[in-house]
Symmetry: D2
Subunit: 340 residues, 4 copies
């Protein structure tokens, strides 16, 4: 335990991303949970809303984060944005796990989310915290926008090869997600008997998460990338698999993509290169993203598996905070998965 | 009930495709099950191997199909091929649900399956029985090669647009299958605790089913089609979803693909056009393939859902036999799915 | 097809029990679906609410059943009861799949359901339609109360031995149900990520279904039966398994219970005696209840498996209607299950 | 990290219990993994057999445990028994997770397992290591027999009340287990498509685990207890729920049982009393057993949920070793579950 710990609040603490964040922070040696906020469970012990939890804090209503130095916000979009200025002005670090600060252009936000951004002036200030690509900016920012679960897996699979100019800027990403990615609010689309024993695509004409992916891919590639992204709902709770199809440019081969990705994995503590395409179960409960590149008749098929609530959410948020506060990047983060 | 019924044998009757075939034939008004053959359950009642079945026939060992006029073979590859000549010489119609007669070129078979074809002279005689595209040839043949479960969904999604020249001959098909597609023989890859709560790609460097797809796509397009096909294992029992990515050629638009597919569905009793991308659950237990075309920024995303054991196997076999024997195409085939 | 078909309306047509009823009736040779009623889907085609359905009827709002001769009501409790008098007065047969008419004593209803019965005078008139035990009364009644899914499996497992005095009147029934038994209205308790990879008991201090079970068991045994009934939620969509523990009275043995149950199964078209304890999958999609009796050191362990939406709901309703209208009991009802 | 760590070998390291043991020990601050043994994966890295593992040890063949001070054996029955004498003579502590040393009477072993015990003289020496009841004996023994997954949940639910004479010695335990309890060897009974969407009872005429339960219950109650125990296979990977039915003796009430169990939970770090009957998901990944007692019309329904691989296997083994070596009982053991 370091001499001084960092005080943290979690807003939206009893949703799936929020609860995952709470569980990670509870075991973090340098961060102390000082406040849990949540609307639906306000006034109840955290463990009443998250069965099996050993955390003894109460969930409180409202948006008062107390004396927290860092605020983890796992809220529906627009909510964190409406409070971010106030939190920042009070000297706190704001870690937003919603989509509110992922797009640097408020107009793009308005287009994709169908409403005006509540804090347009902050959009440029936020750092898109896909940690493996933006460590320096993260270390220097007080407003961290944590990527969505789909963008994390998707960008890890495609951005490096595009940035290096190894592949054509026309990318297909076919993503498969467990149902926890849809959150904890009951709806017919996530009702057990509708999801179980079935797989379906959704958002086929353009999922909202596509916006931030295009923003990042264009910036990395230095030109317009055509992205076709189709998410699918899988009858499982946790896990995302992105299957990405990349065509090497003339003079490049799939082996170049594979070598690039092996190097990337070797250089990053939470990326793991697997010799066979990874099963999502191999990363369940861990902050690791597993990567494989396979050559199918000249096309690079890049698969990336992650736990959508950890590396695709709360784990990545803590990873970014570790960097922001100068802690070791891996501090307090789960590296082991649970098999089976 | 017609004046005379057709006598049928099912070989490999207690595997998943075989058992599905038996159940469909048992309810078929113009076909009578006269013999069930199976190695592992030889000597036992069919219902001892397939719990809940009301069929009273015994499973017999060996390969004697008795006086059957039509032989449905749901056997490991090479087995049916070794017996096909004998069955054909005895005047029977042979319906092979393995891969043995799907490739017209025995050399291609040797390359993809790693062994010499047991009956190379029969390969050209067999009809690739993707019913919607080959009715006339089916009606005239005694050797019907039923497409695999993946090829059925994949070809339905891509062949029409390629045949009409609407899309570029560079196709990505990302397919998702339930575990019953892997058959009934226990192995670690299909052990419950390994499959459950996980999704993974497999055969990423080139699945065997790719061979027959390329054969059919090339023939339909009249030129070489580049196909990238990646199958995935989904934690569910039944169902395949093919998500197919097609780039319209210059001068064509996604709407042209959609119109083509709507027309195809209207003209075929077992194709259904859905206004939203179909869930596999919407076809469970039925011989229907559900189709949707969606425009994502100029790319045609074609999704096709089928029950892998019915339209992707035994149902399509019976559909082909209906045509071969001049019965109504839909005779005895399930059109309703079970929801939920 | 009989000379004249019976016109039927289904109320609550797009819930799980309602939709199952619609699908069965659609294939029934002597019943014609003339009207589908439903609140949430009013004005939409049935297939818009029940994906994959081939039924072309629209769902209508309100409670006007048109010229239907038989009304199948799959509604929340109290709704059917409020309309039953009006339907009966108009000469219709009313088949209620809710709990409203299962208790003959309106006071018991008030106690268990927490509100006054909307039509107390009808309670005595209704017939508890567990078909295997009440065929004569069903044939003579215009108000059929279809048992709940749990009571059907539970009573089949315990009532015969109690009626014959073979076992002590102190019974434990441990029941396991798939999530479709909880209906189609989204709630946290049936949210995919909460149900999946978990099993839990609920209603442990006394589930509402216990009331009708005690009523029937007491009547059959001719004395007060002590019933301990605990239902469990299983991460599957369909199926109920009741595991019932019966202690033979002095002078009787488990073999007597087994013999009784074998005889019962032999005498009833929808009961099947299995030599090994049945898996629920062996009855999925069928109206069959599978039964086994095993001796464990002198205790009779009776297991009964059923599809909760078919034999535990809509299938049993149609079975009762077949009897009521003098049709063959098995007419139009599925006997085959789907494996796997 | 203590001054000196304990060297440990795990035999059968790549089965489910073995792998769980390896993962726990890898994070244990006072135990060092020095050798992993396994037949099927001999010569391969551990992570090749257990996807996602970060453990770099190789799996070795044979039974040479090197310089390990403690041997964790997760082997098929008879294998550990055949090597135990040799290990003990070499001064090692032997922790057997098979059934070999759970029965103190070798004749009972022969009766239930159908073969002669390989080391009958050791049976009396072994301590049945259900930690909550046998801490002193565990601390003094070199041969620890870890209870099976079913017995752990079942005994926790029933033994205390029987020991205190609160309930009749006629107990029904209806247990539900995820498929990982069946181990990692593929078989039709655990093939995904057979297990999924189904629930079934098995071992209904007397499961082997019943033997050790009766031994322990009789000893605790001081008289013969009649136990009826029926296990069920649930379509999930991890988790056991035992639902136990206890009839209070005259003069006692369910509240007495509840009070007893509350006290037991308060006094033991890995028992948790829940106010509502626990879902197995609330203990997934943790060494906690969750307990609830509910009164249903005078019968005590005791439910106990555990992770079958942790508290029902490897976790309990480590818990016992902690006690044996004088470490804190909770050292290195997971207390948090993963939700969802």
């Amino acid at each position: 335990m370091p001499a001084s710990v960092i005080r943290a609040a979690v807003c939206g603490a009893t949703g799936y991303i929020g609860a995952q964040c709470v569980e990670i922070l509870d075991r973090h040696p340098a961060i102390e949970l000082t406040r849990l906020l949540g609307r639906s469970s306000a006034g109840k012990p955290f463990a009443a809303a998250v069965p099996g939890s050993r955390i003894s804090l109460q969930v409180e209503g409202g948006m008062d984060v107390g004396d927290a130095e860092v605020v983890f916000a796992a809220l529906p979009h627009t909510v964190a944005a409406a409070h971010a200025r106030e939190w920042l002005d009070a000297g706190r670090v704001v870690v937003d796990m919603s989509a509110d600060f992922r797009l640097t252009d408020p107009a793009a936000y308005a287009r994709w989310y169908g409403l005006e951004h509540p804090a347009p002036d902050l959009c440029k200030q936020a750092v898109y915290s896909l940690v493996e690509f933006h460590r320096e900016a993260i270390a220097a920012s007080d407003l961290l926008a944590i990527p969505g679960c789909y963008p994390t897996a998707s960008l890890l699979s495609s951005l490096p090869a595009l940035r290096e100019g190894l592949v054509e800027p026309d990318v297909v990403i076919d993503a498969k997600s467990g149902a926890s990615g849809g959150g904890r609010s009951p709806s017919l689309g996530f009702h057990f008997s509708e999801v179980n024993e079935s797989v379906r695509a959704y958002g086929v004409d353009g999922h909202r998460h596509k916006a931030e992916m295009i923003q990042e891919l264009n910036a990395a590639a230095g030109r317009a990338v055509r992205l076709t992204f189709v998410p699918h709902l899988i009858p499982m709770t946790r896990g995302i698999l992105a299957t990405t199809y990349l065509h090497p440019v003339a003079g490049r081969r799939v082996a170049d993509v594979a070598e690039l990705m092996r190097g990337l994995c070797a250089a990053n503590p939470f990326l793991r290169y697997d010799e066979v395409s990874p099963a999502t179960k191999s990363v369940t409960g861990s902050n690791t993203a597993a990567v494989n590149v396979t050559d199918q008749d000249g096309v690079a098929v890049v698969t990336v598996a992650e736990d959508n609530l950890v590396k695709g959410g709360a784990g990545q948020a803590v990873q970014a905070v570790n960097i922001r506060f100068g802690l070791g990047e891996t501090t307090g983060l789960p590296v082991s998965s649970q098999w089976p």
